[in-house]
């Protein structure tokens, strides 16, 4: 996946290249890497050389060699300071997001930038001297203190901009990684939601029943198919999130239970209770679906005699209370695999929409029929 896709090129170009090349093998990996790492140093050195050679009327090539040596030495120092500084910080504080993105923090990088500028300046000058084979005359240690200070200021300016560039690059990488992780989680959750609602076992069993009914009772087959269509349509719509009225919610629960009833026959009794004044109230779409499915799958299906399921809505002051209750095998006897995901998903949706003001509780039903009751409480205010 190319994460830079669609990002504005001006803001993210550095980022885009860095990350995209990590994912997509470049044709010249070493050259690409060198260019990526050195382009800021190279371009600043070039600007500095042009500036100085014009200002002091020095030969351009000579100035360029000096500024390149100085610029690249400074960059080398900054980069190693950044590398060792962040490694040290990561050791003391594993998982620190800044340090993970190779940024040790301004506390360390500020002073280090000044040190890098001074050492880089003198070290780079010596290197350039050696390269040119000429010992310093008027440049860089000429008698002209004015020129020296200008050049020192320039290298300091270069250093700070390089450090700033590296810093923002690191920060953008961190932000990008966080955004990506969040997006991935959201996509995963949506997929899982869809997958849990289109539970293959339920789907194929329903189709198996349909296949039989088509031969024996076409009219009933048609009615069952209509229920299945409504259920699938609602599921696909709900996976794109959104809300609908409680009347719709109950209609979808009814569709689902009708499909299950064809399969379970007399083993399933259904009771839906939605007060007229709550019919138009908006709720997150198919919020109850995982709860109803858990009741069927983990409560009633494993029970030899089956049982009943009751879905109710009521108002309790400022709260809307929705409950799904079954007379199944109960929490203690339920086989836990799979139940948790449905519950977690309902909790997450409630938390996203209402924060602390909504809750989902699950407990053994207190009466002689046994089974489990799941209760959702949420504010009466209209859901987003």
């Amino acid at each position: 996946m190319n994460v830079a896709r669609g990002a504005p090129p001006s803001a993210l170009s550095a980022q885009g290249v860095a990350i995209a090349s990590a994912d997509r093998p470049a044709r010249w990996p070493l050259l690409m890497w060198l260019w990526r790492e050195l382009r800021i140093g190279l371009s600043i050195s070039l600007i500095a050389a042009t500036f100085i050679s014009t200002m002091f009327r020095d030969p351009f090539l000579r100035t360029l060699i000096y500024s390149l040596c100085i610029g690249l030495s400074i960059q080398l120092l900054i980069e190693s300071g950044r590398y060792f500084g962040s490694a040290w910080r990561l050791k003391r504080d594993p998982g620190n997001p800044e340090a993970t993105a190779r940024w040790p923090g301004w506390m360390w990088m500020g002073p280090w930038a000044v040190v890098s500028a001074v050492i880089g300046y003198f070290g780079g000058s010596l290197l350039a001297d050696a390269l040119i084979g000429q010992h310093r005359t008027h440049f860089p240690f000429g008698p002209d203190l004015h020129a020296l200070s200008v050049i020192l200021m320039l290298s300091l300016g270069f250093t700070i901009s390089a450090v700033y560039f590296l810093h923002s690059r690191g920060r953008m990488a961190t932000l990008q990684a966080l955004t990506e992780a969040a997006q991935r989680r959201a996509t995963e959750a949506q997929l899982k939601l869809l997958q849990s609602q289109l539970e293959p076992h339920m789907l194929f069993n329903t189709l198996a029943n349909l296949r039989v009914l088509i031969g024996t009772d076409p009219e009933r087959a048609q009615a069952m198919l209509d229920r299945l269509i409504a259920f699938l349509r609602a599921t696909l719509a709900a996976s794109r999130s959104g809300s609908h009225t409680l009347a719709d919610e109950f209609a979808r629960v009814d569709d689902y239970l009708a499909l299950i009833a064809v399969r379970m026959g007399a083993r399933l009794q259904v009771q839906l209770d939605l007060p007229a004044e709550l019919r138009g109230h908006a709720v997150p779409a198919l919020l109850l679906q995982p709860l109803v499915e858990n009741s069927v799958r983990h409560g009633l299906e494993p029970k030899i005699d089956g049982g009943r399921i009751e879905v109710r809505a009521r108002r309790d002051g400022d709260a809307l209370v929705l409950s799904v209750r079954d007379s199944g095998v109960g929490l203690g006897n339920a086989q836990t695999g799979g139940t948790l995901f449905g519950l977690q998903q309902v909790r997450e949706r409630l938390a996203t929409l209402f924060g602390e003001r909504a809750s989902l509780t699950l407990h053994d039903a207190g009466d002689a029929d046994g089974g489990v009751e799941a209760t959702v409480r949420m504010p009466m205010q209209t859901a987003r």
Partner: protein, 263 residues
């Protein structure tokens, strides 16, 4: 001899359909029992001794796999073991295991051609099958099948068992336990001195035990290996286990007899 079959399928429509399809594809097959849950499936199969059993995987009471395990353990040694065909709508892991173990299975919705192929294979195998007990390769097949669908070991090992009795809770260190035995909805936890009842199924317990220390020897029994003094093999394929700290004898079923090789 007319072959007889048992159908275990909890959904009435699917049960009827399978019957009808079998009637068309295998007219001489006599369906002697059609049941809707695992308990009945086991009881009826043991009572009627059919030649073929169609077992739905997800059924109330016992799953089809659990029925198969119980049949392998309880089937009389002098009777030919039934051919098993598992039926499932969608069980990813079970299907992989069936495929790997070359076990007969059908997927729902049942398709005529697939069922016809299955019927043909069953007929061929009925014609040449062994005359008594579960054949060694059937046992091998079932053992591998059960192992591959067993839940993965839990990260958290059980160290101490809490067994309530009235107002007292007894804490039983796991190393004190000689064996566990399933008893209806409970589990008997037997130590050298006494026994406790806990509300837990063997299925929940097993992943939390160290498989090197505790061996399952029967669908309802898990015993601490260190506590086994001797094992005696029987003609039937079962093995009697004498214990060090307890007077009673435990039975290891055919499915677990391979644990006691004796060389």
């Amino acid at each position: 001899m007319t072959p007889r079959a048992l159908i275990a399928e909890d959904e009435a429509l699917l049960q009827q359909a399978l019957r009808a399809d079998l009637r068309a594809l295998w007219p001489e097959l006599q369906v002697v029992a059609a049941v809707g849950d695992g308990e009945q499936a086991l009881a009826e199969a043991l009572r009627l001794r059919p030649e073929v059993c169609f077992l739905d995987i997800r059924m109330p009471g016992r799953s089809g796999l659990e029925v198969a395990q119980a049949l392998a353990e309880d089937w009389p040694a002098d009777e030919p073991f039934p051919l098993l065909v598992f039926v499932t709508a969608y069980d990813q892991y079970a299907l992989q295991a069936f495929e790997a173990q070359a076990v007969d299975y059908l997927v729902k919705p049942l398709q005529r051609e697939r069922l016809a192929a299955s019927v043909q294979r069953l007929r061929a195998r009925l014609a040449q099958r062994a005359s008594s007990g579960p054949a060694p390769q059937t046992i091998e097949q079932l053992r591998a099948l059960l192992a591959s669908v067993a839940p993965a070991p839990a990260a958290e090992r059980l160290e101490v068992i809490q067994a309530g009795a009235g107002h007292t809770v007894h804490l039983v260190p796991i190393d004190d336990v000689v064996y566990f035995e399933a008893a209806d909805k409970y589990l008997r936890v037997v130590t050298p001195e006494r026994e406790h009842l806990i509300r837990m199924s063997l299925r929940e317990l097993l992943p939390r035990l160290d498989p090197a220390k505790f061996w399952q020897v029967h669908r309802g029994t898990v015993v601490r290996a260190r506590s086994i003094a001797s094992a005696q093999r029987h003609e039937s394929g079962k093995v009697s286990l004498k214990l060090r700290e307890r007077p009673e004898t435990l039975t290891a079923s055919r499915l677990y007899a391979h644990l006691f090789k004796g060389h």
